[in-house]
Symmetry: C2
Subunit: 187 residues, 2 copies
Amino acid sequence: MAIRKLTFDEIFSRQPGLEELKTLRRVPLYALIQNIRSMHNVGSIFRTSDGVRLKHLFLTGFTPTPPRKEIDKTALGATDSVPWSYEKDGTKILRQLKKKEINLVVVEHTNKSIPYTDVNYEFPMCLIMGNEVEGISQEIIKQADVAVDIPMLGMKQSLNVSVAYGIIIYHILSRYLENNTNVLQSK
Amino acid sequence: MAIRKLTFDEIFSRQPGLEELKTLRRVPLYALIQNIRSMHNVGSIFRTSDGVRLKHLFLTGFTPTPPRKEIDKTALGATDSVPWSYEKDGTKILRQLKKKEINLVVVEHTNKSIPYTDVNYEFPMCLIMGNEVEGISQEIIKQADVAVDIPMLGMKQSLNVSVAYGIIIYHILSRYLENNTNVLQSK
């Protein structure tokens, strides 16, 4: 099987530029992160959000916001391509989203959590994740429509937050694309 | 919907300890990483590998190996729970795996790459990923049975390597668990 690696030029030519991206349809997928401490994680979440063409990223609580050198180091430009805003009080954002009938999916170990692969996601929706150690606050959990978690088959009880975000948001994207291939055809 | 966050004790009590983990059946899923430069990424890949109860992690090329403080900082103990070994020459490992009829799946932008969600994964298999910037070497690509990539809908052409690893390996795990729920029943 003759597999040939693409050149950097070939790879870059497939991606839209910043101006073109603004004209493309976005996936009806929001995300809200609360009290993420690590700028590395925030930058990585921006980069992944660019990958799924997220509609909007809400930074809340004490989550650091761009521009910060340490965020840019992992975001690599995605702070410009992902629509985002900051609001200290995450519950306020969620009340607004609820009014717009946006489904709220929280990632947390709860008494009602179901594996993220077992959910029939409805769009538009917002994925919610919290602090690296403490997780999400109880006030936010109370507002959620559904709580999901990731099967942990080893001895650790959780993954790095930016990895967990990638796993779940890309899974949700794949479910969305099953019925909405036109998003991919835009470029 | 009364969702209650689990306590740390409740969460920890669900996970097997290191000794118990050794007695549990492992997923027939291997991974090989080549020339990963960042110890943060290596640690994160260990932590995710613990989560999927990976059979074995092969570190190759100039990938740093445990024990290193910067790896432990993100692996958080997973360097003890994930079986791993180091071999400079990754092609040698892949020849051995091929003899054992283990399917080789490389993550790379190639002329033959298909989206990672469109593959009918066959087990046992080994997932292969390369350097943060250069990707995987052409020698390794030549040995692969199939090349996959991740849909990139934004302006960036790739994700952080440890996030990409998480997305793909957890997707493969979910496919495996569809027909092998007994792995989950072991605890």
